[in-house]
Amino acid sequence: MTRVALARLRTVALLVVAACTFDEKAVAVQKPQVVVHAVLDPGTQEQQVLVERTLSGTVDIRDNLRFDADDPINTGGGIPIAGAEVTITGPDGAVRAYEAPVAGRPASYSSGRYVALFGATFGAPPLRRGGRYRLEVRTPDGVIIRGTTVVPDVQPVPAGTRLDAFNRDRDSLRLTWRNVAGARSYLLRAETPFGPFLLFTDSTHVTLDGDLRNYFAASLERVFIPGFRQRVAVAAVDSNFFDYYRSRNDPFTGSGIINRLDGGIGLFGAAVNVSTRTLDVVQNPREPSFEGIWDVAATPRPVAEVLRLYVETPGDPAALSGWYARTRTSGVFEGMIGARTKGRVVLEFLANQAAVDTVAVFSGEQRGDSLVGTFVGVPGRVVYLKRPSQSS
């Protein structure tokens, strides 16, 4: 985390001077290297190995694709390597991984995502706790990448469906877990709309204040945002995982990543979930006249029929947050963030609880118990009526 702080300082310094840029010119295409990401995870029978090339200037990368977890390389700005031979060898023998097809794509489409199936269901040995595994990737060009990891010796904790109410003004979240043999460290990961909050700790417990700030977020937004359902999980990780994710290449020398693979760049590590909580985040009322549940009054095809609004940070501008439901009966709640500036309310309706994944934007103003405005790009006025507070 020291490096996070120092990297932030350097990045700030870099941004200051980057304003004076000149002499942009083409440079030579470089020889690409092979990049492998593979984390053995006993919590799933599908072990994924991502095989791709470094960006070396050979192709234009499309940055405007919507991210797809089943096609993470192509939709995540990478260049997949097709036709690689991927083998994971453990105490019970070798398991071959095969490139996974992507739904809706032709058979010739390469995702670079190789899947090895473990467990009796697939006629293969299970992934053993405490087992030592070797990874070997052979690319069609003849490049061989090898790595070794040891899976932490602990039974994975399933995600579960329990939802815990969490008032960020009043509560703090304390997570404890048992010491795990073979774990180099524990990764705490809290999902937030502004990106995950990550913390490596050697301890077996951690307490998160309700108003904890996320120092990975661009403007240091809080971790817990009212209206959101946020997952907080702890995983026991091996030393490869720990070293790879705690390090980074600095922008000046292009060095810094702790790479334990032979023949390529990346990671062959292991992680096991040891604690998971999902929080329904609320807060004490700030502005009762504004905060609460709003129901759509009149609109032909509303983006959302129900809104739950919070004043996340008072002031002008004030930060807003909450959830929305597309229909009153759906029971599915998505996150929402926004701001109120000089009475003008702008709400961003999110998918996947992610601020970078906005599906609709509402702009309007509060008029008494009404919120009147329009959705950007959608004709017609929308009116929401505030539900009486006792029923919110």
């Binding site: 020291t2 994924q48 993470p72 995540g76 403007s219 292009g254």
Partner: protein
């Protein structure tokens, strides 16, 4: 043993035997300009009959010892000033303190032959002075600068000194790393004397009296750093009554006030500076500018008793504050943002007590002397930095505290000088990274080493044409349990009275190290860690050979070649494990060699300046792999000059041309995939794939040539009794595009590279008011 030594040194003054029967006395004083009150260096001061003479030093001070008692006529002479005679009565065994005020007078050159010797000439004649460069405040003020004259920016233009780029706070001396420079304020160490990422030094120009840089082969008096010593001495006012200087520039405002006692036995100066961009932005808009820095400095000196005893106090406090709140930035997308606090500060306070005995003085073991001096110093230095992101979500602190006691006795007889001294330092180094909001301690280091040094130097003239200085410094560092001997030897052979060859060899040790990496061109300040059971003491050996030729009374040329070898150079290990002590540094060794040239015209006439050229090669080796360190600049030329045109206008110019420093070429980009054990997926769509650069061979490429021309002009005038000096400067006058760094984009075909520039054309203006 060191404690016993300290006791010995402290007991020395009473052991000095003073002869009271000789019918002689001492005259001490200062010489100032009668109209401005400015001190006048290099003024000839003499007793007319029997003739005894001397020159005033950089602060306008002089001492005439062994003056026969009785009524004497004291005379002061200087070019462009009327001769001033002052009758004084010298009493046996007593010291007379006088103040001489010279009035300016036109001088017809040719009719007057000035023979005043500048201090540089004294250094040339009296000692080996290898690698020694001194600067006066006027030399600093003649160098064009951003906003206001700056000591360290000027030092960066001297021979053997290399500034990595326009933004870097550090400087490299003769191939050494930038943490290898010992920086002293009135002899007290100061760790990170920089503001705003190195754009400004903490030294206030108005407070500076003299600057001395030792670029290598320095004597046994100094230790603890491998490469250089920069000693900045405070100016002392000589004019009674409250007076001072106010400065307003585009960056900051400063005020310096001071006074001297009417009897000339004391003086004080109090100075302060603060940037005001934050205040301006707040006053003129609803936005905030979250940064400012400030300095405050006090210097006071007073003679005590009836002899030459003197006590001096120096105190400095400076801070940089980069504190902000994203919710105050007026951007609605940041309405829920948090605060960040990033502060760093320096504190120095030191007291010194000095005394000089002349009449029949003697020291045990050393015998009779022409004069004996003793000095005792006590100081406290602190550098601290703190980073707090999001109200305790992530906190980083680093602090170095040093309490130092140092002292020496020095013995003079004829051309021989002996000095015995000691230094005792107690350090307290803290380095903590944690997250109070999660109750997590990520890294914690506390070191409390002690360091002691005992040194002895002897300077003498073995032959009429040979001067030499030998020294031995023994040091011990408790944290490491390290002890070492550092011999130093320098000598100069005069081929002619104006031409001398010199040589110096020495061994040096350093036990405080910076965690910063020399390859990173951005250096806001250093994070310090001390040698301990895991961290080695770095060592270096210097060999310097030089030749110096005086081309006139105020002009000289010097060429020095140097070879330095380093062992246990420590570089931050970016792969260190926070749970493990001892892997914070990687051990390297290396060498540097080259030569530097200085052609200098002292600033005693209308023109002053210098030309410096340095050729240097630095090599490092780590784990059998050789590389050029990031500061390895092969050619570095600086031409600096100021020209006083008449009584009002002063023009300044600096031209810098240098070859590029090495950098690591970026040969691709890698997309980091974040695995989420909760969803068993890579990436969730919340974080887009992060592209990180991939470096090629370390420092195998070099940036293009650097060039920069800076110009300045100032005009001196008076208004209602105040001196007004408005000034205007142009930094990078022809807007040369000097590369700071390259950024690469390998996500496109063809891949591209873009340069970020160093300083663009930067005009600035300001006003200095003297009152």
């Amino acid at each position: 043993m060191l404690g016993a030594l300290g006791a010995l040194l402290l007991s020395v003054p009473p052991a000095i035997v003073r002869a009271q029967d000789a019918p002689r006395g001492t005259i001490v004083g200062t010489v100032v300009d009668d109209s401005t009150g400015a001190t006048l260096p290099r003024v000839t001061v003499l007793v007319v009959e029997p003739t005894r003479g001397t020159l005033t030093d950089e602060r306008g001070r002089f001492v005439l010892a062994d003056v026969p008692a009785g009524q004497r006529l004291l005379r002061a002479r200087a070019l462009s000033y009327r001769q001033h005679d002052l009758p004084v009565v010298v009493r046996a065994g007593d010291t007379v303190v006088v103040a001489l005020r010279l009035t300016s007078a036109p001088v017809t050159l040719g009719a007057v032959r000035a023979r005043a010797r500048p201090p540089e000439r004294d250094r040339f004649e009296l000692g080996p002075n290898v690698g020694t460069v001194s600067l006066t405040p006027s030399a600093v003020s003649g160098v064009p600068a951003i906003g206001e004259p700056d000591v360290l920016r000027t030092v960066q233009l001297l021979p053997g000194v290399n500034a990595r780029n326009d933004f870097s706070s550090g400087y490299n001396v003769r191939g050494g790393e930038s943490d290898q420079n010992l920086i002293l304020l009135d002899g007290y160490p100061i760790y990170n004397p920089f503001h705003l990422g190195g754009l400004f030094s903490t030294f206030l120009e108005e407070t500076v009296g003299e600057i001395e840089l030792l670029t290598g082969g320095f004597g046994a008096r100094h230790g603890g750093r491998l490469s250089s010593v920069l000693d900045v001495r405070s100016a002392e006012p000589v004019r009674p009554g409250l007076h001072g200087t106010a400065g307003v520039s585009v960056i900051a405002s400063s005020l310096s006030i001071g006074s001297a006692a009417r009897n000339g036995r004391g003086s004080w100066t109090l100075s302060g500076r603060r940037t005001y961009a934050d205040k301006l932005v707040s006053a003129l808009s609803d936005r905030t500018f979250p940064y400012h820095f400030s300095d405050a400095q006090l210097h006071a000196a007073r003679a005590i008793g009836s002899g030459n005893a003197r006590v001096e106090l120096t105190a400095y406090a400076g801070a940089d504050l980069l504190d902000g709140d994203f919710t105050q930035f007026g951007d609605s997308s940041r309405a829920g943002g948090g605060t960040f606090d990033f502060d760093w500060s320096n504190r120095v306070v030191g007291v010194s007590l000095t005394d000089v005995w002349r009449e029949g003085a003697r020291l045990p073991l050393f015998g009779r002397a022409d004069s004996v001096g003793a000095e005792q110093r006590v100081s406290y230095t602190r550098f601290a930095t703190g980073l707090n992101l999001g109200d305790g979500a992530l906190e980083l602190t680093n602090a170095v505290d040093e309490i130092r006691a140092a002292g020496s006795v020095h013995w003079h007889r004829g051309s021989r000088e002996r000095r015995l001294g000691y230094e005792l330092s107690s350090y307290d180094v803290e380095y903590d990274v944690g997250s109070a909001a999660t109750g997590t301690q990520l890294f914690a280091l506390r070191q409390t080493p002690k360091a002691g040094a005992l040194y002895y130097t002897e300077s003498w003239r073995p032959a009429a044409r040979l001067v030499a200085e030998a020294g031995l410094r023994t040091e011990h560092v408790s944290g490491r349990g390290w002890s070492g001997l550092s011999p130093r030897l320098s000598a100069k052979w005069f081929v002619t009275p104006d031409l001398a060859v010199s040589a110096a060899v020495g061994q040096y040790a350093q036990w405080l190290h910076s965690l910063n990496r020399e390859d990173i061109p951005v250096r806001v300040f250093d994070f310090w860690v001390a040698s301990d059971e895991f961290v080695e003491v770095s060592r270096a050996q210097h060999l310097v050979l030089g030749v110096e030729r005086w081309l006139g009374p105020t002009r000289f040329a010097r060429v020095e070649g140097w070879l330095k070898r380093y062992d246990h150079l420590l570089e931050q290990n970016t792969a260190d494990d926070p749970a493990r002590r001892g892997d914070e540094f990687l051990d390297a060794r290396g060498r540097s060699y080259g030569f530097d040239v200085m052609l200098r015209q002292l600033d005693v006439g209308p023109f002053g300046g210098w030309l410096s050229y340095t050729y240097g090669v630095s090599e490092r080796e780590q784990d059998g792999i050789g590389y050029w360190p990031g500061h390895d600049r092969r050619h570095n030329l600086n031409v600096v000059g100021s020209w006083r045109a008449g009584r009002k206008y002063t023009f300044g110019a600096r031209l810098g041309v240098a070859s590029g420093t090495p950098f690591t070429d970026i040969v691709g980009q890698v997309v980091r995939r974040s695995y989420d054990p909760g969803t068993h997926q890579y990436g969730t769509g919340v974080i887009a794939g992060e592209r990180e650069p991939l470096g090629g061979a370390r420092n195998a490429k070099r940036y293009p040539i650097f060039q920069r021309l800076d110009l300045s002009v100032s005009r001196a005038g008076t208004w209602r009794g105040m001196q007004l000096v408005p000034y205007f400067s142009l930094v990078n006058a022809y807007n040369a595009k000097n590369v700071f760094i390259y950024t690469f984009d390998y996500a496109s075909n063809p891949p591209t590279r873009e340069a970020s520039s160093q300083f663009p054309l930067l005009p600035s203006l300001g006003l200095t008011i003297g009152f």
